[in-house]
C-alpha cells in the first residue's frame, strides 16, 4: 500500500505516493529522475548514494523514502546555484579530484557536510570524514587536496563578505 509523502528536495517541495519499502535512493533516482545520486552497493558500504538529509550526510540506500517525509534533502543536483558550481565542486574540477566520477556526488556531499560543521578541518579530519565514501580511481589524494582548497575558498568568501 502506498503512502503519501512530502519532502523538500533541493529547495523544492515534492509530494508523491510511494511503497513503504522504497528507499530514498530509489525515490530520488527513479521517481524524481535525480540520477546524480549513485547506486554503488545498496548496503551502506560504499557511500556513492550519499545525500544530505536535514544537514547530515546519509546513505540514501539505507533510508526509506517514507522516513524522509517532512524533511529536507540535498542532492548533488541542488548544490550549484544559478549554474555556478559550489566551491567544493569547483575545487574538485580544478584539483583533478575526479576520474570515473561515480563516487564524486557522494564524496562532494560528504565533504560539504564536513565543511558545514568544521570549516577548517585537518587532513586527518578530511580523510576520516570521507572514509565512508569509497573511490576506486583516485587514491584519494586529489580529493583531499580539493576539500582543503574548498575550505580555503569558502573561508575567504565568508571573511570578505
Amino acid at each position: 500500500m502506498k503512502t503519501i509523502i512530502q519532502m523538500t528536495v533541493n529547495g523544492e517541495l515534492v509530494e508523491s505516493a510511494v511503497e513503504p519499502n522504497r528507499t530514498l535512493l530509489q525515490f530520488l533516482r527513479e521517481d524524481l529522475d535525480l540520477t546524480g545520486t549513485k547506486h554503488g552497493c545498496g548496503l551502506g558500504d560504499c557511500g556513492a548514494c550519499t545525500v544530505i538529509l536535514d544537514g547530515k550526510p546519509v546513505n540514501s540506500c539505507l533510508v526509506l523514502a517514507v522516513q524522509a517525509h517532512g524533511r529536507e534533502v540535498l542532492t548533488i543536483e541542488g548544490l550549484a546555484e544559478n549554474g555556478n558550481l559550489h566551491p567544493i565542486q569547483q575545487a574538485f574540477v580544478d584539483k583533478g579530484a575526479i576520474q570515473c566520477g561515480f563516487c564524486t556526488p557522494g564524496m562532494i556531499l560528504s565533504a560539504k557536510a564536513l565543511l558545514d560543521e568544521n570549516p577548517k578541518p585537518s587532513e586527518l579530519e578530511i580523510r576520516t570524514a570521507i572514509s565512508g565514501n569509497l573511490c576506486r580511481c583516485t587514491g584519494y589524494q586529489k580529493i583531499v587536496e580539493a576539500v582543503q582548497e574548498a575550505a580555503t575558498v569558502i573561508d575567504g568568501t565568508e571573511v570578505s563578505s
Partner: protein, 777 residues
C-alpha cells in the same frame, strides 16, 4: 553538448604538457553525467539473471513456469531461446550466455527474467529452479592439472589446461650451477576484485528500424558488438553499442558482462526498453577477477650482484572460462624476469580451468603477480650478497639496446636506470635511516623499493590499431570522435588536448563524441596501456590532415600564394600577409562533407623477433616492443603487537615518456598505487568450494581515504619517438609496484618476509612469531 570548460589558458588552445581540466569534470561534478546505469525511460522493463549457485553440475530441465506466471513478468528465457551460438569469449568462445549443458561456476547464468518492475523481477528469479546432476568440482589450479581431476570442458583437447608456455634463453636453468648465490621463493597472490563503483549495467531496446541498440558500461564497444551479434544470431550491423563514460572498469569491463543478456531481453520485450544492473553481490559473483597466481622462482647471481640465471614456474587460475586468461599468462611470462638483463632464463607457465570465479583482465594483466615475485627475489639476492637493493637493481637494469630477460632487444626509450637514479636522489630515500630510527614503541619501520616495467599494446599478432575521426561541422566547430572508451583514465580529455593543440582551438571550441559503433570508428579496447598511445597517434594524423585541408581552402579563398601563409586561430584562420581573418564557419561552407571529415588509421609497432614460447603464446601477445618503466619506494611501519602494516609514504618515479597532462598522469599513478596497496594489504576475494565468502564491501575491503598515504609521483620525461608527442602508456605500470615495495619494506623493518598475500595482520604476526621461534631455537 558543449561544456563550459576553463582550459587553464584563458580560453586559448591547450598546450601539450599543461594540466587542462578534464573535459568530463563539469558534468560529473554536477551530477549530470549520464552513465549506462542512469538510463531508464518511458515504458521501461527490468531484466535480471538466475545464477547457478552451484559450482559444477550437469543442467537438466529448467523450471520456468512458476516464474512466468508471476504477475508482472513478461518472459522467462533460457538457452533454448538464444538463436545464435549462445557462446561468448574473446579468444576461446567457451562461455555460454545462458548455461545449456553444464554450469561451471556459481555465477553461471541459467535463466533471464524480464519483468515490469524490480519487485516482480526478484520474486520471479526466486521461483526459477532447475534439475541438475552434481559433478565433483576442482577449486585449486594445481590440483586441476592432476590426473583424474574433474574436467570442466570435455571438448578442450588439453583437459583443464587452457594454455601453457615454455621459454628458454641461453643455457636455461642449467646455468644455475654457474651462480655464486641462488635464492628461492614461492609466492601466492590473491584473487583481486575490480570493485568499480558502478557495477555492470546497461540499457537496451529494439529500435523502430529493427536494430538492437545497447547502451552499456564497457571498455570494448566494437568487440561487444561482434560478440552480441554472434551469440544472438544477429547481423553485425543490426547491433549498435553506445559506451558512455563507465563508472570505473579497470579491465573488468574488457569484454561482455550484461551486453548479450540485455540484447536477448530487448529482443523479447515487445519493443520496450530494458534495463539491467547487477547488484554488488552479483558483480562479485559473476564479474571477472585478477587471476590468483602461484609463482615458483629461483634466481641465481654472480658474487658481484650480476644476475645470471632465472628459473620460473607459474600457475594461474582462470576459473571456468578463458575470458582473457591466456593473454594474461603470456604477459606474465614476458614480464617474469622484470626489467633486467639475465642471460639464462627458463620460464614455464600454465593457465588452468577451475570451478572458481572467472579470471579476466585487471589493470596490470598478469604483471602485478610476477613483479611481486621477481622484485622480492632481487631483494633476497641483494640481502644474501649484502648489497644495497637499489644498487643491485641499477647493476642489472636494462638500457636501450640491451636484451631484456626474454632476450627482446629494447629499441624504444628505456628509462629504468633514470628512474632508479632519481629514486636514489629522492629525499625520502636519502633520509630513510633517520626515519626508521624514529619508530615508536612496538613499531618497526622499513623502506622497500621495486623496479617496474610494463608493456603496452596487443603484441605481435593481434593488430593494435586505432581509427581516429575529426570533423569540421558546417557551423565551424570541431567534433572529435573518440574511438576508445574513457573509463576514468582521462583519455577523452587528452584527445581534446591533442586535437586542440594541432588545430589551435580552445577545448570549448570542440566537442567530444564518445564511443558509439554507429558514430565513431573501431579503435580497439580501452586496455593494455594503449589508449592514448595508439589512438593519440591516429588522432594526430586525422587532425593534421584536416588542418591541411582547411588551410588550403582558406589559402584559395584569400588568394594567398600558399597555405604556408595561413594559420589556424581559435574559431578561424588568419592570412599572415594581409592580416585578414576568416571564421571557420565560412571555410566550412566552402568544403563538402567528405572534405570536412578526416579519418586516420594507426597501427602500433610490433616486435619482429619470433620467439617460440609454445603453441599459441605468440598469438596471445608474446613479445611486445614498447615498455614503460618505474621505480617505487614504500615507507612502512609495522605494529609488532597487532601485525598491522601502515604505508606511511609512497614514491612513484615513472618513465612513461613525455607528460601531456600532468594532472591526468598523476591521477593514473596515484590511483594505481592505491589499488596496488589494496592488493598488497587487504584485498582477497575468498572463495571456498567455489562459493564466494566475501560478498560485499564489508567482507571485501578496499582502501579508504584513511588507508592510502601521500603518494609522490615524479615523472622522468624521456621522449619516445614513436609516441604521440613522445608519450608512452601510464595506465597500468604503477599497479605493479606496491606489493613488492611494501613486502620489501616489511622485510627491512622486521626481518621477515611474507610469501602469501595480502599481507594481513594475521600473516604478519605469524611470520614474526615464526622468526622469533627460529631465533630462540
Amino acid at each position: 553538448m558543449t561544456l563550459p570548460i576553463n582550459n587553464g589558458n584563458e580560453g586559448g588552445p591547450p598546450g601539450i604538457g599543461v594540466s587542462i581540466p578534464r573535459a568530463d569534470a563539469y558534468m560529473k561534478v554536477s551530477g549530470r553525467e549520464k552513465y549506462a546505469s542512469d538510463y531508464y525511460g518511458e515504458d521501461l522493463v527490468w531484466c535480471g539473471v538466475k545464477r547457478a549457485g552451484v559450482p559444477h553440475v550437469v543442467i537438466g530441465e529448467i523450471h520456468t513456469r512458476a516464474a512466468s506466471e508471476t504477475p508482472g513478468v513478461l518472459a522467462v528465457l533460457t538457452h533454448s531461446d538464444v538463436r545464435g551460438t549462445n557462446r561468448q569469449g574473446v579468444l576461446q568462445k567457451d562461455q555460454p550466455v545462458l548455461a545449456d549443458d553444464k554450469a561451471r561456476h556459481c555465477g553461471d547464468a541459467v535463466a533471464l527474467v524480464i519483468a515490469e518492475d524490480r519487485h516482480s523481477l526478484n520474486k520471479a528469479l526466486d521461483l526459477v529452479s532447475f534439475d541438475y546432476e552434481l559433478l565433483p568440482g576442482v577449486f585449486d589450479a594445481e590440483e586441476a592439472l592432476e590426473e583424474g581431476a574433474p574436467i570442466l570442458h570435455e571438448n578442450h583437447p588439453q583437459g583443464n589446461l587452457l594454455l601453457s608456455g615454455e621459454y628458454r634463453t641461453g643455457a636455461g636453468a642449467s646455468a644455475m650451477a654457474e651462480c655464486d648465490v641462488v635464492v628461492e621463493g614461492s609466492f601466492r597472490t590473491p584473487r583481486q576484485e575490480h570493485a568499480y563503483l558502478e557495477t555492470e549495467a546497461g540499457w537496451a531496446q529494439v529500435q523502430d528500424d529493427g536494430r538492437l541498440f545497447i547502451v552499456c558500461s564497457t571498455q570494448t564497444p566494437f568487440r561487444d558488438r561482434s560478440e552480441v551479434a554472434e551469440a544472438l544470431g544477429l547481423d553485425l550491423h543490426d547491433v549498435r553499442i553506445k559506451a558512455p563514460y563507465p563508472g570505473g572498469a579497470f579491465g573488468g569491463k574488457d569484454g561482455v558482462t550484461v551486453q548479450t543478456l540485455l540484447g536477448l531481453a530487448a529482443l523479447n520485450s515487445g519493443g520496450r526498453p530494458v534495463r539491467m544492473q547487477w547488484d554488488r553481490e552479483e558483480s562479485f559473483l559473476a564479474g571477472t577477477k585478477r587471476h590468483p597466481a602461484r609463482l615458483y622462482y629461483r634466481l641465481g647471481a654472480k658474487r658481484d650482484g650480476t644476475l645470471h640465471c632465472l628459473d620460473v614456474h607459474m600457475v594461474l587460475d582462470t576459473g571456468p572460462y578463458d575470458h582473457l586468461g591466456g593473454v594474461v599468462l603470456a604477459l606474465g611470462l614476458e614480464h617474469a624476469g622484470g626489467a633486467y638483463r639475465v642471460p639464462h632464463v627458463n620460464l614455464k607457465g600454465k593457465c588452468v580451468y577451475t570451478n572458481n570465479p572467472v579470471g579476466g583482465a585487471f589493470r596490470g594483466f598478469g604483471v602485478p603477480q610476477v613483479t611481486a615475485a621477481i622484485e622480492q627475489m632481487i631483494d633476497m639476492t641483494a640481502e644474501k650478497l649484502q648489497m644495497d637493493p637499489l644498487e643491485t637493481r641499477l647493476r642489472n637494469a636494462v638500457r636501450r639496446g640491451d636484451k631484456n630477460s626474454i632476450g627482446k632487444t629494447l629499441v624504444n626509450s628505456t628509462g629504468l636506470r633514470e628512474c632508479l637514479k632519481a629514486l636514489g636522489e629522492h629525499p625520502l630515500w636519502k633520509s630513510r635511516a633517520e626515519w626508521k630510527a624514529g619508530a615508536g614503541a612496538f613499531k618497526r619501520r622499513g623502506a622497500g623499493v621495486a623496479a617496474l616495467t610494463h608493456a603496452s599494446g596487443y603484441g605481435p599478432v593481434v593488430p593494435d590499431v586505432a581509427n581516429a575521426k575529426v570533423e569540421l561541422t558546417r557551423e565551424g566547430k570541431f567534433l572529435i570522435y573518440s574511438g576508445v572508451v574513457d573509463m576514468g583514465q582521462g583519455n577523452a580529455t587528452t584527445n581534446l588536448q591533442i586535437a586542440g593543440s594541432i588545430l589551435c582551438q580552445p577545448t570549448d571550441g570542440m566537442e567530444l563524441v564518445l564511443p558509439d559503433t554507429d558514430r565513431t570508428l573501431p579503435s580497439g579496447s580501452a586496455s593494455a596501456s594503449r589508449c592514448t598511445y595508439t589512438f593519440g597517434n591516429a588522432l594526430i594524423g586525422a587532425a593534421e590532415n584536416l588542418k591541411t585541408r582547411i588551410l588550403q581552402r582558406a589559402a584559395d579563398l584569400l588568394m594567398a600564394r600558399s597555405r604556408d601563409e595561413i594559420v589556424l586561430i581559435p574559431g578561424g584562420v588568419r592570412h599572415l600577409v594581409s592580416g585578414k581573418d576568416l571564421p571557420l564557419s565560412v571555410i566550412a561552407g566552402f568544403m563538402d562533407e567528405a572534405e570536412r571529415i578526416s579519418v586516420h588509421h594507426f597501427k602500433a609497432p610490433t616486435a619482429p623477433e619470433n620467439f617460440d614460447a609454445g603453441p599459441g603464446i605468440r598469438m596471445h601477445g608474446f613479445p611486445h616492443t614498447l615498455f614503460s618503466y618505474a621505480a617505487h619506494l614504500a615507507l612502512v611501519e609495522v605494529d609488532e603487537l597487532t601485525g598491522e602494516i601502515t604505508v606511511c609514504r609512497y614514491v612513484a618515479i615513472s618513465d612513461c615518456g613525455t607528460v601531456v597532462n600532468p594532472q591526468i598522469y598523476e591521477q593514473q599513478i596515484q590511483g594505481a598505487v592505491a589499488q596496488g596497496i589494496g592488493f598488497a594489504l587487504c584485498e582477497d576475494l575468498v572463495s571456498t568450494q567455489g562459493l564466494i565468502l566475501t560478498q560485499d564491501f564489508a567482507g571485501y575491503v578496499i582502501p579508504t581515504a584513511a588507508d592510502v598515504p601521500e603518494i609522490d609521483s615524479v615523472p622522468v620525461e624521456i621522449f619516445e619517438p614513436s609516441g604521440p608527442f613522445g608519450l608512452k602508456g601510464v595506465g597500468e605500470i604503477a599497479m605493479n609496484g606496491p606489493l613488492p615495495a611494501i613486502s620489501n619494506a616489511v622485510a627491512d623493518a622486521c626481518g621477515v618476509r611474507i610469501f602469501e598475500y595480502p599481507m594481513t595482520p594475521e600473516r604478519v604476526l605469524a611470520a614474526i612469531r615464526d622468526a622469533c621461534k627460529r631465533i630462540s631455537e
